[in-house]
Amino acid sequence: MSVAPLRQFNTFHSDPKFGRLLLVSLIAHGLIWVAFSIDLFGTNTRPKPPIYYVDLIHKPVLNPQAGRPDPRPAKKPKAATVKRTVQTAAPTVTKKPTKPAVKPLVKPAKVVKPKPVPKPTTKIDQRKEQKVQSALDEIRERQARQAERDALKDKLAKLRDSAGAATVAADVPVGMPDGTGDEAGIAVVAFVQAFIQQNWALSRYLIDQSRIANIEAKATLVYSAAGKLIRYRINTPSGNQQFDDSLKKAIIKSQQLPQPLPKILELNVTFNLKEMAGRN
C-alpha cells in the first residue's frame, strides 16, 4: 500500500448541534404540558368508573313485600306466646299448658294459682312461697331486660332512618321462615336511587345549599329489563338549576344498572339534596 498526501478534514465529525436538540426537547416538554393543561388525555373529565357492589342477599325485586304475610301481626302473637310460656315455665316444669286431659288436676293448680294463692288460707309452705317469689323476680327481671332491648332497637331504627336510604337494604327483613327465597330484598326504586346517588357529584355550593334549604326533585325513569335507561323525565324540578343539572348528569351517568331488572320498569324516584349531602 502506498501513502499519498491526505486531504484535510476541517470539520470531520459533523455532529448535530446540541442546542438545536435542546430546543426540540424543550418544545416537546412544552407540548406535553399544554396537552395536560387542556386535558387532552381526559384525565380530569374522565368519569370515575362505577363501583359495583354485588349484593347477593338483597336482590332487587319489584315488590319485596309480596308473597309474605304481614310481619307485624305475625310477630306479635309469637311474642305473646313466648312471654306466656316464659311466665308459665318459670314456676314449675310445665311444658304444654294447653294440653288437657292427662294431668289435669296438678297443672292448673301450679300454673294459674301462684298469683292469687299466696295470700290467704291455702297451706303452701314457706319454701314454695319463696320459689314463687324468686320466679316472679326472674320474670320481672326478664321483662325489664326485654324492655331495655326494645328501647335499644327503637333507637337503632331511628338512627337508621336518619342515615338515609343507604340503610334500606339493611332494614329489609330476610330469611323469613315462610318465605320462598326470592321475595326478600331491596326495592327496585331504592336500588336505582342508590345507584344514581353513587354517580352524583355534589358541588360545594350544593352541599352548602343542603344546610339552608330542602331541595327535592321528582323524576320518572324508564329502565329496560336489561337495566338500561330508556327515557327519563323530571316531573317536579327542584327549582335550583344546579341541582337539576347535576341530577340530569347523574341520571345520564347511570344509564346502565349493574344488574338486570325483572322487567321493563317505570320508576318514580324522589331525589332529596339533604339526603345526598348527608351521604356525602
Binding site: R7, F9, F18
Partner: protein, 223 residues
C-alpha cells in the same frame, strides 16, 4: 396541572429542577441517538469500503462519505502519521530500518490516542444521563417529603385530620416523586442503551487498531 400549580414554593422549585433535568436528558438522548446511530451505520459501511480497497490513498480519498464513524478518525490519524514518516524517511535513507521500527510504535501510540479521544467523544454528555437517573428520584423524594411536612403542618394548625384536609397536600407532594421518576426512567434507559452501543463501537475500534497495526507491520517488512 392543578396539583402542580397548587403546590408550595419548595415543591415548585423541586419540580422546576426536575423539569430542567428532564429537558436536558431528552436533548442528550436525541443527540446521542443521532450520533451513535450514524457512527454505527458509517462504521459498518467504512469497514466494507476499507477491505474492498488495497491502497491507503484510495481509502483516504473516500473518507468523506463515512465522516461519522470513529474508525475513519483512526484511519486518518494513522494515515497522517505514515505520510509524515514517509516525508521524513525520504531524507534519511540510511536509517530506514530504524525508522520503520519506530514507525510501528508511533502508529500504535497514535491509535491509542485516537481511540481514547473518540471514546470520549462518544461518551460525551452521558454522565448527565447517569446523574439524572440516580439523582432525580431523590430530588423528587425531597419535594415529596417537604410537601408532606407542609400537609402535616396544615393538619396541626387546622386541628382537622380528615381525609379532605390531608389528601390534597399529600397528592400535591407526591407529584414531585412522580416527576422525578418521569425524568429518571428515560435517563437510565437511555444511559444503558447508549453505553451498550458505545461498548460495541469501542470493540470495533480496538479490532480496527489491531488490523491497522498488522498492516503497518506488513508494510514495514515488505519494504
Amino acid at each position: 396541572m392543578e396539583l402542580v400549580l397548587n403546590a408550595g414554593p419548595v415543591v415548585k422549585l423541586v419540580l422546576l429542577i426536575l423539569v430542567y433535568f428532564s429537558v436536558v436528558s431528552w436533548a442528550i438522548i436525541f443527540y446521542k441517538q443521532l450520533v451513535i446511530h450514524r457512527a454505527i451505520r458509517d462504521s459498518e459501511r467504512f469497514l466494507d469500503f476499507f477491505w474492498s480497497k488495497k491502497r491507503f490513498d484510495a481509502i483516504g480519498q473516500g473518507l468523506d462519505d463515512y465522516r461519522h464513524s470513529p474508525l475513519t478518525v483512526l484511519f486518518r490519524e494513522v494515515y497522517s502519521e505514515l505520510a509524515q514518516n514517509r516525508r521524513q524517511a525520504d531524507g534519511q535513507e540510511a536509517d530506514t530500518l530504524v525508522a520503520d521500527l519506530g514507525e510501528q510504535e508511533r502508529v500504535a501510540r497514535v491509535l491509542r490516542r485516537s481511540t481514547t479521544s473518540e471514546g470520549h467523544r462518544l461518551e460525551k454528555y452521558l454522565s448527565f444521563l447517569a446523574t439524572t437517573g440516580s439523582a432525580a428520584p431523590f430530588i423528587g423524594l425531597f419535594g415529596t417529603v417537604w410537601g408532606i411536612m407542609d400537609a402535616f403542618h396544615d393538619i396541626g394548625t387546622t386541628g382537622n385530620a380528615s381525609l379532605a384536609v390531608v389528601a390534597p397536600g399529600i397528592s400535591e407532594a407526591l407529584v414531585a416523586t412522580a416527576i422525578g421518576l418521569v425524568a429518571a426512567i428515560p435517563a437510565v434507559i437511555g444511559y444503558n442503551h447508549f453505553i451498550n452501543k458505545i461498548n460495541v463501537l469501542t470493540g470495533e475500534m480496538d479490532n480496527f487498531c489491531q488490523e491497522m497495526l498488522n498492516i503497518v507491520q506488513r508494510m514495514s517488512q515488505g519494504r
